[in-house]
């Protein structure tokens, strides 16, 4: 005899609510489990996204081109041809694959005020091109951003200004080395002060117009690095290969190669999320199996009866599976809803500045923006549903294997 599936669903649905307390507790457990998965993942993803964003906007970009040897020894000797002198690269940089690019001169230097001296990195930039590529243009808090490649002012980080005991409009002296190993020295007026989440950035980088720096260092037409942004930070290898093909002898590296720590963070995060999902699911599965086993045991007589009436064991198995699937689906629905409701009020970020200094140490900023990725949500739901149905196979199999006569005559269990 073939039992229509719709009837199985009806029976399963009614079975579920015969003991509504038990079912509700299980539903709550599933919902909370899913909420824990999605919430935690959203926060962690948000944290890593932010770290990567910060790393990329702190002069890294998605892809960088340097002279061979520059990364090991970032001196004025290692330069590459400017974009204008490499027509093929110029063409690629203006293609739609590249969303922003710029070239820089970047050398170690020493900054001196009336009060103190510090070692810094002097970066000559093209102010218009840096907009949208790096943090500088959006981080100036007093004074003004550089106007042109010939701007005579410098931009200093807030913390460095404090340490030098100087202020906006004052003069400072910057010393570095020219290609002939002579000390190059030049006075600058502080035209602007920038503020970033990371103090180390503020004390390291001093920005000036690229042509001004070029004149100060008596350099030819070369630059230290070319930095560019593609469309997706996770997917940079294709673009990197194209850049490498036109960059000649210069070294092309992706941000993943330049910052192996960040790159490994991405992998660790993906691995962690899977492990976390599985842990939560395991904790859930004990309860799920237990609840279903109970539901099956207390119905031993009844199952024996319907079997005796001609219901094939396969259908009984299916009935229990449908029961658990309905429970899982409702639980997941509630869990997704709960996640959405709790993530809604913090979608603009939560201020975690209480522990910000520690986060700074790890390269993070103090506003945490949760990042809900569709793939993570689907994975969480998928794991709970698929593994949940698998876990209920055991109770279902137990139910289908009962011998009718024994089952009917047994009162207890």
């Amino acid at each position: 005899m073939k039992t229509p599936f719709s009837m199985l669903v009806t029976v399963a649905w009614r079975n579920l609510w015969r003991n509504h307390r038990r079912s509700l507790i299980m539903l709550a457990a599933i919902a909370i489990g899913l909420w824990g998965m999605i919430w935690m993942t959203a926060l962690m993803r948000g944290m890593v996204d932010q770290m990567i964003d910060d790393a990329i906007s702190t002069l890294s970009g998605h892809i960088q081109i340097h002279a061979p040897g520059y990364l090991d020894d970032p001196s004025v000797e290692h330069t590459i041809a400017a974009v204008a002198d490499n027509p093929e690269l110029d063409k690629l940089l203006h293609s739609p694959e590249v969303t922003a690019w710029s070239q820089r001169i970047r050398v170690p230097a020493v900054i001196r005020s009336e009060r103190d001296v510090y070692g810094i990195t002097l970066v000559g930039i093209d102010p218009q091109r840096e907009r949208g590529l790096s943090f500088i243009a959006d981080s100036v808090v007093s004074g003004h951003y550089l106007e042109s490649v010939n701007d005579q002012h410098v931009l200093l980080g807030r913390k460095l200004v404090e340490q030098l005991e100087t202020k906006l409009g004052r003069r400072i002296v910057i010393l570095s080395q020219d290609p002939d190993n002579n000390i190059a020295e030049r006075g600058f007026r502080i035209g602007g002060i920038y503020d970033t989440d990371l103090q180390a950035t503020e004390t390291t980088y001093v920005f000036a117009g690229i042509e001004t720096v070029r004149r100060m260092l008596k350099m030819g037409s070369g630059v230290s690095e070319i930095s560019l942004l593609g469309h997706d930070y996770r997917n940079v290898d294709g673009l990197a290969a194209e850049v490498r093909a036109v960059a000649g002898t210069a070294e092309t590296s992706t941000w993943l190669q330049l910052d192996p720590y960040m790159a490994s963070m991405l992998d660790v995060m993906d691995g962690f999320i899977i492990v976390w999902f599985c842990i939560i699911f395991l904790a859930l599965s004990f309860g799920l199996i237990n609840t279903l086993l109970m539901a099956v045991f207390e119905r031993t007589r009844e199952i024996g009866l319907i079997q005796a009436l001609g219901m094939p064991p396969g259908n009984i198995l299916l009935m229990v599976l449908v029961e658990s699937s309905i429970m899982l689906l409702i639980g997941l629905l509630a869990g997704n809803l709960l996640s959405w409701l709790t993530l809604l009020p913090i979608r603009d970020g939560i201020d975690i500045s209480a522990v910000a200094q520690g986060l700074e140490w790890a390269g993070m900023s103090s506003i945490l923006l949760p990042a809900v990725k569709t793939s993570d949500v689907l994975l969480a739901n998928g794991i709970v549903l698929v593994l949940g149905v698998l876990a209920s196979l055991f109770p279902a199999w137990r139910a289908s294997r009962k011998v009718p006569v024994e089952a009917i005559t047994r009162i207890w269990q």
Partner: protein
Amino acid sequence: MISISNTTATLAWRNLWRHSRRTLLTIAAMVFADTLLVFMLGLQFGQYRMMIDNSLRVFTGQMQVQARGYLDEPHMFRSIPAADKLATSIRNNTRLDAVAVRGYGFALVSSGARTIGAQISGVDPQHEPLVSSIPGLVKQGRYLQGSNSNELVVGSTLARNLKVSPGDELTLLGSGRDGSIAATVAPVVGIFESGNRDLDRQMLSMPLDTFREVFSMGDHAHSIIIGGERSQADSIAAGARAALPADGELVLLSWEKLLPGLKQAIQADFTSAWFMYLVLIVLVAFGVLNTMLMSVLERTHEFGILLALGVRHGRLGRMIITESAVLAAIGLLLGMLAGGMVIWYFRVHGFTYPGMEAMGERFNIPSVLHPEVSLRSLLPGPLAVFIATLLASLYPIWHMRKLRPIEALQTI
């Protein structure tokens, strides 16, 4: 009274095993959560301890004496007068040899090929090895000898950028404590590789007395580094504080103050970990709640008989809570046992995961972790699960508090 509670306990124990599979599954859930919590906590504590120890060992020491305000704005004139004498009295007070005096300065360092700005530290070659691992990390040449010899030890990246090796000379040009010009020429005798990017990239050490002479420091210094065991930090701090002058111009700074980022990174990590643990514990509690509720509901008829025989609600409640207490206690013991075995195994064999190497480099920890086996990693997780389990059994008790014998007897 005692005999009654004995009966209660016996009843509770037997009730638990009426559904042995259910009880075992519930215990398994607790043991699973306990083991996981113990393992994670042990790993965390082990990792934190390594992070702290390894960070402090390189250069910072357990605590430092500095002039007030030097930590925030390290100006040369904010120095400690008569620093050697103070260090000696700290050594006497704490009975600790690991007390070293340092001076810090900044100079333009030229090698002929290159000129780079670098941090100069003047160190006491006799005591420095007791508070810092840098003297032991000299990869080429040797460490400094003698407090007034004219020689330099350079960080590996800095040496590479300056293109110098042991035997080459460097010219230092900076300004002294009084604002005068500080200049000297000295040979490089060694190159160290600490693994700490900043130190390797920008630090250069010279003997303290030479440093004082070059930078016009007199008998001053900028920091007195105190090493020793972290477990004895309190008594060491008390001894050191007693040696400080009463005017408050000098302050004793703990590692938490010296490296606030490290402390807070640990706190931040711990907070997010507890969120995970909480979710896990709540899930297990729900499982237990369901088990206890089932075992109460299916006994409604039986409870009706007991009530009809004159047993009071209170006693039924005690029996149920005993049941869950026994359940929870078994979970607690087995959980701690299983968790303890897991962390003991990894303590001996080490634990690592992919990506750990790059993380280790960043946070100054080795790429193999050894979890900490201690009460603070063994107890909190299982105890939290235990308490959550007891709390979960309150609902079934509350649910049957108004059970009437007749009605209960009518349910089948």
